[in-house]
Symmetry: D3
Subunit: 340 residues, 6 copies
């Protein structure tokens, strides 16, 4: 079922008849003492709220936070803001729904990215490292998760497809660095680049309404989880060299660069130094890209104070051709069962 | 072959005929241009040095650093210090030798400690956790390594048997805390206490002459290695609850307490808080104990500046009954193949 | 006068006729321009608010923040929240009132704790240290303050009786540690444990409505105040050894463990190391205990983000038998004039 | 007994016959195996070393480090350095000796400084504060210690008379600041300036050979000791206002400005802010003055790297008229029993 | 045009007819759907808000934030707060208006300060340094900006005239220090004191409604901008010694004292050390002065928690004679075209 | 005059007749009291020392540290080390000498690098930025300094040609990044990359014997110096846009990335973020390259502890083809007067 109405395109007076996810639901009471529901719905483009005055018990069951509903109504206004006027809400089977409609999603084409990642994997010189990557990405479950996962809860690449976009970008930079500097082990560096955040598959859950941490993600962290995943995959490959496995684990464990940032071990190899920097570059560049999408093209503007960066940024808005990206409205994972 | 002569008991004029480990060997040249060897030997009680004037090539092969040699000679003196006068040096098969003669060793009785640890393991209430501990310590290889390993390269418990001594002490404190505070999960806390440093088995190597890091130890660190060991052991136990495994891994991964100290994850459970503190207490108390052994009993003295603690300490010397500990001159691991 | 109605047990429609403390009072104005009072009252279990529409001047004098009042009225509701409807409020003489009804209070039995503390004091081996502790706790004023004081303004043990509960718990752990480790001076460690926070008697004031700092508390801090108290008490004991006094002062001054945390001096003795760790353990365990009281028993839950700990916690709720603690509704200090 | 020969004025060939303090003594052995003593002597201007070949046992008893000896001999040279040739060494009664000959000493005139301090004390407006200062400085023991004490072990004002020089300089700056800024309490600020380091009287010992910490100095620190001294002095003054006492204690306790620098409490009053800055200014200016004495006048030079400042300094040498200060060769404390 | 009505003197019922600056303007909508404007106006003494119900489009153009308007109306009240009732608002030509009426302004007399600064400049001994200062302050544009500029966006001296007040105060203290300490280069220190914050002329803009950063201020910072200004001015003086220029630049660049505080270079000269401390003293003293203006004279009070200082302060209120400062209602810069 | 004999190729017994730089000269005295000189000479490959027994006054004048001398003698040995036996030393005119023989020098070909840099400059799209770069590098003095300067005193690229090598490498990476990421301003980023360390031309001096800081370098730092250079160059270009100049200055001033690392301003533009990371990457990669040159090819080894990186590194030795780089024995700057 394809969603066609998006929050950011709705105007006052439009009638609404499409799928949305419930962001929150709170029961309240009118001054007259009559109970009503305060409903907020969202999709990947924004959110709107409004009251449900009648059949409170009926709709409270249907509109549980995180659920997808088929909503009918119109868009009115109250005290100068848009307000939802609900006429009906019906439950929807989740299997029929494309996640990418409800959560923010990469602006890159996921099929193109899959193809580029595939090329990089196949170009890895070291046969064991290549085998490890193939084994990992060939599993349809891994691949399905990897290309859907966000790369973070907040801050950078915090959207569906973010993990794939980020890992591929880092790997492409890694490829270039391996040519620029003497004696870098390209195979190890590419493996590190593609797998450094792979633990996020298990660290973050991203049900319809929100990206959040799993128990395991909080108790162990994606660095250790990713390192375990690599150890498990290597164990299934006959004669996989111990030293190679340990070096890839080192790349994953050390990629935050400093202990204060959660790496139990600091980078000690040439490849680990590079990976740490490339990861930081790509994360920072994605943060600025998100901010630049909100600025008029060819305008240079100071952003609001960015608390996590502890500074203001001076950014030029992104060109409209770049911004007007086509959202991919189908889920490539559904069509393509595995990467290879 | 039992070593009977120890460096700290040798007096000027004594003739020497026993096993020692080569600490260093440097070839030099007399003013007359004749080559000679400068040899330093050691055992667990100290070191002495002296020249070998003749058959330089012959002795250079035998006296490789780290090797155990059967040395004959006498103890003379030069410019007011003791000096070794070597008459002969012969190679020795390492299998015949007890490591504890050459490296500093715990002053506690290792068999008593093994017994106490066994009692604690058997007292663990949670059947899965108990099974995990039994599986781990029953393996003769694990046990052999665990009771020989030092707990650190420097600083605290840096001697043969130190890992066992430290882990047991932390576990005994943990046992008490589980009774003192409401609702602590004693099984998890004991498992964490006994296994928190288990990765040091693989992180540190301790050949005859020195304790050092392994490649794997440096690339991954003992927290991640220990967490992997637990995951591997749990995998071999049918129906081992995932949550229990993750909590024990969390205990190991977080036991350094802060990211700056190498924990990828900070303590987030009651048991993890306690383990972190008990580990620190026991480490600090061992450091002070080492220092107190050098002070006359019943004397309160300021130590030298302790760089790693960034302070002077004001300590009372240890009572002679306590200090005059009997070194255990046999290797219990040789006699007792496994813990259970 | 015994309070029988508590905020957390009041239901909509109940009529109210009991003592409460005024948390805040603000004068406001209706749209029609008529003045009214916005009153918030509290006891140890919570707070409720409501307007006083009439006799504004009369009630403004009676309902000063921090005062205890005898309130009559009913519990109604407004916009879905409970709202107080006041019919009358009368002043109450403070002497007749038990503080523990209005401020949160320890869940432990204060008489039992007093007994346990007494036993520990009497078990101190060093006669001068024992005399110092007896002198200190025998003074009825000291004892009265000590067993009523909270151990902190916020964070841990921030309730009536908290200082006693915390000091005793640390002393009990200290007792155990003195047995576990070689050559710890048990007398000094117990004195340090019992007196480490004694300066809080003067650092914090806890009138009915709130726990706050005194001028002296802010200008000098409880470490220096406590150190002064010990010096004063020692001065009254003939021949009290200078070294002993300085060591106990060192224990108090250094118990925060680091300069950044307010200790002018870092721990330099074995006892000071232990005291610092035991204080931290007990504080952290109390924080987690407070959080666990809000979680259903046998449920493992992630708490909200704990800013002062910079983390989420994963905690199991406390068992109902443990939680359903009997509040002690009389003030033992009133009955028992001094500890010995 | 007045010392006339100083190390920095001795030339090769001079015969020596005067008092010196023994800096170190080490027994060694010639190649031929004959024992000898390696003696280093010093006075406030420098040190020289040389062997004692004969009567080793006799001279070893006399030349204990820290003792003052009457030495006879000549100044020769060995391998291009000056070397002491000892012919005799005799013990000297310490009472007969002026400390200032052996330890580095303030270049300021101590009688002038005493006079200036007196003037400032008498100018204090608040009668209680003035009485406190008079009481403190009038005690001959306090005054004797105060005007001899160094202000630090190393770094700044680390010489006899340094405490007086530093305290007076800070007080003079304080006097100026109290005029420059609105509503500064001059009495409190002057008291803080004169007493802020008074605890150093008890924190540091300065026997002939070296300045070192006392037990009490290390266990409590000069801030807490000084605060205690003020409390004791205030207690002896009838009706001394509690608030005034607490504010002066606050000035002393907070004068290091930050917790990391050893203040248990940060500055919270206008006077405490000023005192902290003036103390830092005067300490830094003294450090640069010491360095400038080693540079030729009218030359601008980069110093060696100053580790405690983490930088190089660019300083102009002090003018010779300023440098050629007359050392005061008598001890004013011997002549003037108290300040007032 | 002289402003006579100030916000803090307006009472309910007063009719209003004077100049104000628009702080903010927001368009909103009544429940009935009718658009209206929510206007907030301010002058240097405070702000008031109120709605404009009619001619929304007309007034929206006139009342742009930052603009000065001539406002007519009355002061009413709504829900217990004062509320503006607007009858008309007309645009005003900015040339006719004195800035000091709309932004908070120094309480010192700007002409007196100009005179004192002049005296200090003329007293500078080094002819090149004096020439540099004259050149700088003689330019009417520089001087006009210098004596109007605030010294900061927030925190200290954040008002019209603050830069002049702060620079002069620091220079006066510097003058005193140059006399107190041996061999300070008074000329350099005075130049540093007067020019250290001169870059703020370009770093901050202060249109009527607010003080804010300029692009250049954010991209380069006032330290580098000030250093450039000095270099430019020196370049215009024949034979200006390179070393002198570099030392003044060093004073400006290092005056924040630490790299963490934005100095690219730490203080390395005697003058740079002093300047850094004097700047800090004057800034802190101004912060406390601002806070003391809000406290009753002769009362000692704890302030609210001061986040940027990370502490509470204990301050005495300023004496009314001091507080009741005459605001200078004319702009001296308008009358006096340049300083010399 | 071409140097042919290099220290690292000299064997015992070789006769020496070539140019060397004097590293140090110390006058000493034989046991017999006869004065002699201890001379150490060096070239870019290492150093050797030896005594000059005769004509001490004559040779002391000639062999001043930092001077180039024509030395005759032989290579002998003393106590197992090589020792220089000097027969004669003559002064040499510095103009005739190629610096690169005496200081360590880049292993890259400087003419190739000049060519690559030229290409990059000419490819800059923004005409003003291109003009600025051309102006800067066209000046023969600038270019001569730029291609000879080291990039640091220690740590990374600390050799003749290091600045050119480092700047070019960063610019090449910048070129790639500008293609990889959306909307990066390639002109600005390339200018920043080429000019970020240009201040080092004036910050560091590199006379024959050592690389050291200049006065100006220490007082202002290369960031501010570089920013000034850009401002000066831009001023000479008609209509150079202010915003462009400020952005390039921002790139230079912020390229250390954090205030603690000496940037007065943190990166606030997309280009500044990238430049900071690329600078760090290239510096770190150069450090590892230096270390790898000391390790056998195809061997993976742990380095010694690297204090400035606070870690050990695990590195593979560089391939011999890569290591056996041809030193360029002529100075391209001598042949090629400017870059364009």
């Amino acid at each position: 079922m394809l969603k066609r109405q998006f929050v950011d395109k709705l105007d006052e007076g439009d009638s609404i008849d499409d799928l949305f996810v419930v962001k929150s639901l709170r029961q309240s009471e009118t001054k007259a003492g009559k109970p009503y529901l305060a409903l907020t719905i969202m999709d990947r483009t924004g959110e709107i709220a409004g009251p449900i005055w009648d059949e409170v018990d009926h709709y409270r069951d249907i509109c549980q936070p995180g659920k997808i509903i088929h909503l009918s109504g119109t868009l009115g206004s109250f005290q100068g803001s848009k307000q939802l006027k609900v006429t009906d809400a019906r439950p929807v089977a989740e299997e029929d729904v494309d996640l990418a409609s409800f959560l923010p999603t990469t602006t890159k084409n996921r099929e193109d990215m899959a193809f580029d990642l595939q090329k990089l994997v196949l170009s890895v010189e070291d046969p064991f490292v290549r085998k490890l990557l193939l084994k990992f990405f060939k599993r349809s479950k891994n691949w399905s998760l990897f290309q859907k996962a966000p790369a973070a809860k907040g801050i950078h690449h915090a959207y569906i497809g973010g993990l794939l976009e980020h890992s591929l970008s880092v790997a492409q930079l890694a490829d270039h660095m391996a040519g620029h500097y003497l004696g870098v082990n390209r195979s190890l560096l590419l493996a590190g680049a593609l797998l450094h955040d792979v633990g996020k598959i298990a660290e973050l859950s991203y049900s319809h309404g929100a990206i959040d941490y799993t128990d395991c993600g909080r108790l162990k962290g994606h660095l250790v989880i990713g390192s375990e995943m690599v150890a498990d995959a290597a164990q299934e490959i006959k004669d996989f060299p111990l030293e190679t496995r340990e070096q890839i684990q080192h790349l994953i464990l050390s990629h935050h660069g400093r202990r204060e940032y959660g790496s139990p071990i600091v980078p000690m190899t040439v490849e680990a130094f590079l990976l740490n920097f490339l990861d930081e570059i790509d994360a920072k560049m994605n943060v600025t890209e998100q901010l630049r999408r909100k600025i008029d093209a060819n305008t240079m503007e100071w952003t609001d104070y960015q608390r996590h960066l502890e500074r203001y940024l001076f950014l030029r808005g992104l060109d409209s051709r770049v911004k007007g990206v086509q959202y991919d409205d189908g889920d490539p994972a559904a069509r393509q069962q595995s990467l290879f």
